[in-house]
């Protein structure tokens, strides 16, 4: 009897179990192709079980430039995209392009005050801490998904060089790229070629390969100060040649990827830099190869582990001619680094980020006729951030990072932000933070007999920022932002030039202040017209109360993407207000516009025409002191390019 009862209850359990299995059997355990149209109409949707990433308000006023915008405007290097960011300004010298942020733009600083990340991996080189944003930028713009630009001190998360801004370039997914070949031609002997292919299989494995090259014979430019010197007419002709190549390879899986990027640019620079001969250009070769590995792994409950490991090398060569005699300089740097970061929610209302990173600049060699200087550096860092949702309305973000290097630098960079969600989709942010920039190997160690003395023992420069911002959503189609900021600079590093002897030296030149008000808006109208604009009022002063050089008092930008039936027009207008040159003379305001038109010949063949400086305006860039060391004396500004046209044809496969 007992035996029978047991077996019947057991078999009842089996029957009930089977029934439960039939009812609760989730169709997603079956293959997607098991569901017919009839089935689908009768299927109830369950809420997605994946961990919903709460889009917590970021403690900054970031600008995101989408890949679509890069294509609509036909931008070919990072500086052309960054020029469109509120409060940013690009100076085009004959050798490199420099980025000014919120009124601070020291000509010739190699953009060491900007941290450039490619998919989160630091890309600044090891000698100049240079963010290569001009045509030497080693990634093809075609490969970019979006660019996240965060102005303000980022050292609390990213360490030194995240001083004025952090720019994170995020690459496109491998299978979004497809296969294509592009050829281009344009004014000033411009020609280019580019090819890419990428894909992804059903298991999540993905791959991508892209290669490109570009060449231009450049433009003649007039330097009035050189008119009559040495029998010349001040025209620099045929001294602007540029050639460049890039390679990008990537392979990975759902949770990891490894990439290799390579870029090499050789550019001639006119203008008798560093007292070289005027009729012969300075040649700069910048080449970098970088490898990065990234992985991500969700841990139990709400935690995720992210890690990266990277290695890079940067090689620079400069060729100069002084009074008929050729000389060359070289710099080589190699670096290795890695970091691990844990993100999670130990409590319901807090998100923590904890991280550690190391970097070994194992080679930082600079070589010139004066000799070889070397200087290794290892940096160890720890950082943490806590995002606390205090109430529905208030959130507090606190963070800090400790950086310690083998050259004696020990820095703590704190940051705090209060984020208030006001009714009506308005957000108020109050932010304050500190950042630092250690002297780079060039500033500390580079010396050249008769021209430059080594910097020696230099203090890191520091910045303290306070910012108040208001962000307002405009329906689902746009938003505007207003922001007021004040940056206090301490122990700024700069080149001091003695014009009588022609000797230069990098020194801690003192304190400075920049403050300003920025207004920005973007809106997508029905019909697809997308407009983005900004206005900035900027004020700067050094310790003596005089305005900083190359600090425009006003900036304005207007960008629009306008669909015109089968064509698309991308428009840009930039206004740069009055500023001072390095000799404290006034330089007037200027406006420049660019336009790009694109369309298709057939479904697989598309074209794009771009005119930069469409109205052929006379545009100038404030020159760094390196242009004023020669026989012509002071050269306060450099002429920028006139109108240039380019056309590109792309075939998709």
């Amino acid at each position: 009897m007992i035996h029978e009862r047991k077996s019947s209850s057991a078999s009842l359990a089996v029957w009930v179990g089977m029934s439960v299995l039939l009812v609760a059997h989730p169709a997603d355990a079956a293959d997607v192709d098991d569901l017919s149209l009839d089935d689908l109409l009768n299927t109830r949707i369950t809420t997605a079980s994946k961990f919903s990433q709460r889009i917590s308000e970021s403690p900054s006023t970031a600008t995101v430039i989408r890949g679509e915008e890069i294509r609509s405007h036909g931008w070919r290097n990072l500086s052309e995209a960054l020029a469109s960011v509120r409060g940013f300004e690009i100076s085009t010298a004959t050798d490199y392009r420099y980025l000014g942020v919120r009124g601070f733009s020291q000509p010739g600083d190699y953009n060491s005050r900007i941290l450039l990340l490619i998919d989160g991996i630091p890309a600044n080189d090891g000698i100049y801490d240079q963010a290569m944003i001009g045509s030497e930028f080693p990634l093809d713009m075609n490969l970019i998904e979006r660019i996240e630009v965060v102005p303000g001190p980022g050292s609390a998360l990213y360490g030194g060089n995240a001083y004025l801004a952090v720019v994170n370039v995020i690459t496109r997914q491998s299978d979004s790229i497809g296969r294509s070949v592009t050829v281009g031609a344009g004014s000033n002997g411009f020609s280019s070629g580019q090819a890419n292919a990428g894909g992804r299989d059903g298991t999540g494995r993905h791959w991508l390969i892209s290669a490109s090259t570009e060449r231009s014979t450049g433009s003649a430019r007039h330097f009035p100060q050189w008119d009559g010197i040495g029998g010349g007419d001040g025209w620099a002709r045929g001294l602007d040649d540029e050639r460049q190549r890039r390679l990008f390879l990537r392979y990975g899986d759902e949770d990891w990827s490894v990439h290799l990027l390579h870029g090499r640019r050789q550019k001639e620079a006119a203008g008798a830099l560093y007292a070289t001969d005027f009729d012969v250009p300075v040649t700069n070769i910048d080449a970098t190869t970088q490898i990065g590995l990234r992985f991500q792994r969700p841990l139990k409950t709400t935690w995720t582990l992210e890690g990266q490991a990277y290695a890079g090398q940067f090689h620079w060569e400069g060729r100069y001619r002084y009074s008929g005699a050729w000389e060359s300089d070289m710099a080589r740097s190699g670096w290795l680094g890695g970091s691990a970061q844990l993100t999670g929610k130990p409590w319901e209302n807090q998100t923590w980020v904890l991280g550690a990173s190391i970097r070994d600049d194992f080679k930082r060699d600079q070589e010139n006729t004066g000799g070889l200087s070397q200087g290794k550096r290892r940096t160890l860092s720890l950082y943490a951030q806590d995002d606390i949702r205090l109430t529905d309305m208030f959130a507090l973000n606190l963070g800090g990072r400790y950086d310690r290097d083998t050259l004696g630098s020990r820095q703590v960079s704190p940051r705090a932000a209060l984020i208030v969600n006001l009714p009506g989709a308005t957000v108020l942010k109050l932010m304050t933070g500190k950042a630092f920039r250690p002297p780079n190997a060039y500033e500390s160690n580079y010396s050249y007999p008769g021209t430059q003395l080594a910097g020696g023992t230099l203090k890191p420069e520091r910045i303290a920022t306070t910012e108040i911002a208001l962000e307002q959503a405009l329906g689902a189609h746009g938003r505007w932002t207003a922001s007021m900021y004040r940056n206090r600079f301490r122990d700024m590093l700069g080149t001091v030039t003695d014009f009588s002897t022609g000797l230069q030296q990098v020194q801690n030149i003192g304190d400075a202040l920049t403050e300003g008000l920025e207004l920005g808006a973007r809106y997508r109208f029905s019909g697809g017209v997308d407009v983005r604009g900004s206005l900035s009022w900027q004020h700067s002063e050094d310790a003596a109360g005089a305005p900083l050089p190359n600090s425009p008092r006003r900036l304005a930008r207007l960008l629009a993407v306008v669909p015109l039936g089968a064509y698309e027009l991308g428009w840009e207008t930039y206004y740069t207000g009055p500023r001072r040159d390095v000799f404290t003379n006034a330089v007037g305001g200027q406006t420049v516009s660019h336009a790009s038109l694109s369309g298709r010949f057939t479904r697989d063949l598309r074209w794009q025409v771009r005119a930069s400086n469409l109205f052929d305006r006379r545009v100038v860039t404030v020159a760094g002191p390196e242009y004023s060391l020669g026989a012509a004396g002071n050269v306060p500004t450099i002429p920028d390019y006139g109108r240039q046209m380019q056309i590109h044809l792309t075939a998709d496969f």
Binding site: V32, G202, A566
Partner: protein, 171 residues
């Protein structure tokens, strides 16, 4: 058959009957399955090629269920998937899915499609007026669909009668 056994069988059959009516699945699977079915029940005017290119605008809203479609056969073609596709690249697609969080791109997608035989599938109740050819709409805890027959006919698509029968609305 004993009485208890018969009751048990009835119980299980009853449950199975209930099971066919209340299938449950997560959103991504349902949407991916719909895209596969649309590809099966619609004929493109130009099918002399190896791949039927299925694209999704923006980051991967459909996850693994969409990836499981890679390589699946549809008549004499195989499905290939591209996600994160930019609006500019839509002409390289045969079917483009515009997820709800990219609804503002729908107008641009329609402009870019411009008469090419590309099937636009979008989500939301106002997707049709904005340019969708097939719209997925959430209704009463399920997802149903509507078809713009006029536009699809004009572009050369042939939509099967069975699919039109099951559509909630045909324009």
């Amino acid at each position: 058959m004993s009485r208890t056994a018969f009751l048990r069988l009835l119980f299980v059959l009853g449950m199975s009957a209930a099971a066919t009516v209340s299938l449950a699945a997560d959103e991504a699977t349902v949407k991916a399955a719909y895209l596969y079915n649309f590809a099966k029940f619609i004929q493109w005017p130009d099918e002399q090629r190896a791949a039927l290119r299925l694209c999704i605008i923006g980051d991967d809203a459909l996850g693994q269920p969409l990836h499981s479609l890679i390589g699946k056969p549809v008549r004499n073609m195989q499905i290939s998937v591209r996600h994160g596709v930019a609006v500019h690249d839509v002409p390289q697609c045969d079917l483009v899915f515009v997820p709800a969080d990219h609804a503002q791109s729908l107008e641009r997608v329609r402009q870019v499609v411009n008469g090419y035989p590309i099937l636009i599938v979008a989500e939301s109740s106002d997707a049709m007026p904005k340019g969708a050819m097939v719209a997925l709409i959430q209704s009463d805890g399920r997802i149903v669909f509507e078809v713009d027959l006029a536009v699809t006919r004009r572009l050369g698509f042939q939509v099967s009668a069975k699919m039109l029968q099951l559509a909630r609305k045909v324009y």
